[in-house]
Symmetry: C2
Subunit: 411 residues, 2 copies
Amino acid sequence: MGDANGNSALAGQRQPQQQARRAGGLTDPVPYAAALAWTDAQAVPSEAELVPLADAPGRVLAAPAVAAGDMPGFDRAGIDGIALAAEATVGASAYNPLRFRLVPAGSSLPPDSAARVAAGDALPAGADAVIPPDALDGAAGCEIVEPVAPGSGVERRAGQAAAGATLLAAGRRLRAADIGLLAVAGIERVPVVGRPLLRVLLTGASAGVPDADGPLLRGLIERDGGVPADIRPLARDREALAAALAAPGADIILVAGGTGRGGDDHAAAALAEAGELAIHGVALYPAETAGMGRSRAGTPVFLLPGAPASCLWAYEMLAGRAVRRMAGRAAALPWRRREMTLRLKLVSRIGTTEICPVRSIDDDSVEPTASFAEAGLVAAARADGVVIVAEGSEGFAAGARVTVHLQGAEP
Amino acid sequence: MGDANGNSALAGQRQPQQQARRAGGLTDPVPYAAALAWTDAQAVPSEAELVPLADAPGRVLAAPAVAAGDMPGFDRAGIDGIALAAEATVGASAYNPLRFRLVPAGSSLPPDSAARVAAGDALPAGADAVIPPDALDGAAGCEIVEPVAPGSGVERRAGQAAAGATLLAAGRRLRAADIGLLAVAGIERVPVVGRPLLRVLLTGASAGVPDADGPLLRGLIERDGGVPADIRPLARDREALAAALAAPGADIILVAGGTGRGGDDHAAAALAEAGELAIHGVALYPAETAGMGRSRAGTPVFLLPGAPASCLWAYEMLAGRAVRRMAGRAAALPWRRREMTLRLKLVSRIGTTEICPVRSIDDDSVEPTASFAEAGLVAAARADGVVIVAEGSEGFAAGARVTVHLQGAEP
């Protein structure tokens, strides 16, 4: 830990801070767009894995799902009813009712006979139409009073999809109906984009203050398709942090706390020492002290401010984007966007991308509400959405149309 | 199993069908609104349970979450910087710079001294303002060249919420930021609406055809906040079905298959025998053969057609509504709705509520696509949403504005 000058611990501790400053540290925050570009360059979709259908809802298809055979694989009844040969009904009318004798389904139809079928049953040989059961006349037979068109009431082989057709495209996030479709197609396991494993190191907790960043980040990571595999508190100890950054087993590492100005930047210092601190300080409010870089093994590391509302937004705008991309999801914020009218003016600092909470006034308009600085996560709970004011903007006048990200509303 | 007339098995088997017909069976389908009203009358939110925060994302709060104490509980630094007494800066100017000596944080401030603090730290006694660290002048002190306002850079006790304030209302579906807020408030376990337990009996499978209703229903139940506790195939055997309907342990029972016309209605027959078949046959396309009733113990039972696309829509429009209500969620279909322009006409049978798949043409318009009858679940996969055409409507002309339920897009 010492150096040749005998200027031991102090020199060893100062170096990382200097490195951080050189790398564009807190004294000169980078624009949000630059932090975004760095993030997107790190995160590519994870390798595919095969999972059984029961585990596939919500996962992202890594390859197209293709019909192995025709769907359906044979002509079958499309309705519950009576299967018969359409040709045998030619000439039927109220004046010339034709009588068909009921035979058991499954066997082939003798002339002038019909068989009861349920929707989905294979047609008996010789049948090419299914009529509703209203024509039934007791248990023994039925009377037909108008001609039946060939193919009516029948689901044709390959009518849903022919062998080789794409059923679901790669990149689709699987919903329940898709899972049903894969089952219909006889597919039991599907290739999906792997879920990135996250290590979360909580270094910001103060004695007597409950940790909020852990529960917060766990929920966010799960929402975005990542696995919060390893969430743990860690002392504000640069060596312990460096060891946790270097340990294998994570696809993304998040460090909460220790990103501050001056005295409270142990996370930045540790990353500079144990890997590369690429960015420290982003012109993004309320997450100005966020940072990012790579462990020595190349794992992306995001430094999130410890204050919960700042931690939330550093995650949503930067780290979460990496999680979503690795999980094969859309990188954008996972909420619905809508143009709405701003009822009161919204002021924003020029030079900083600002996340401004807003509250719905009615179905088409919003007003600014208590900021994250004033109200922390209470602001998030009370807001219906946020407006993201770009770096070059001073905000919006009352009456402006703005894009509102409606939180809690997945797109 | 016999009766006094010696007309044993046959009489025993016929009776349930007759009961079904009397109760409004397939020959006389009830309007969708009536089936809906029956469903809503069965399903009330489940009893609350206390869960740890880690299990709470996505759950529905059963009671308001209230701040036990002030948030924050003390005046604290709102920024990283230097804490001092504002009063001591009166008169500071570029011509009259005032010098403050740095002392360790935590102790109370002697006159003309200041302390470094990180955002979130309690203010040292005597300090009532925090200024950015730019004023620092080496490690020993700082120079102030303008007066500081009391309270600047400080987060006041109770500034986010006062003790007793409601943080989150009952009925809120908890998102990650809410979980963080609960943690900030020191809440470790929250009361949430219980998840209804579902038993799913699969009676429709044909030999050689893979079961799709099981995987489909599992995904739908999980999406809606239910627990697919018991999903199992069951032979088309009325006695086995009656036993499975009577067994305790489920809040809702779904039976897939055996709802058809005439010969293939073993599910309806079993329910009539083992409880009450309230409705069999709903004027809802593609789920006309759906049914519902109660087991003898009073558990709501939904009979879903076996054909996967019909099973899907009987679930979405009826059974799923009961699951969502019991889980404390909104009863409506869990997708986003939007008014869009229909580019081609859409024809619907009068007298039936029809679910019509549509495909997006552009951001504001849709056109009808292959129906569920033609393409089964392939239709669901290829559609971007559905239009629900009410019973009294014959459909819509090209150019009409229609409400599109955008599937896969949670609201």
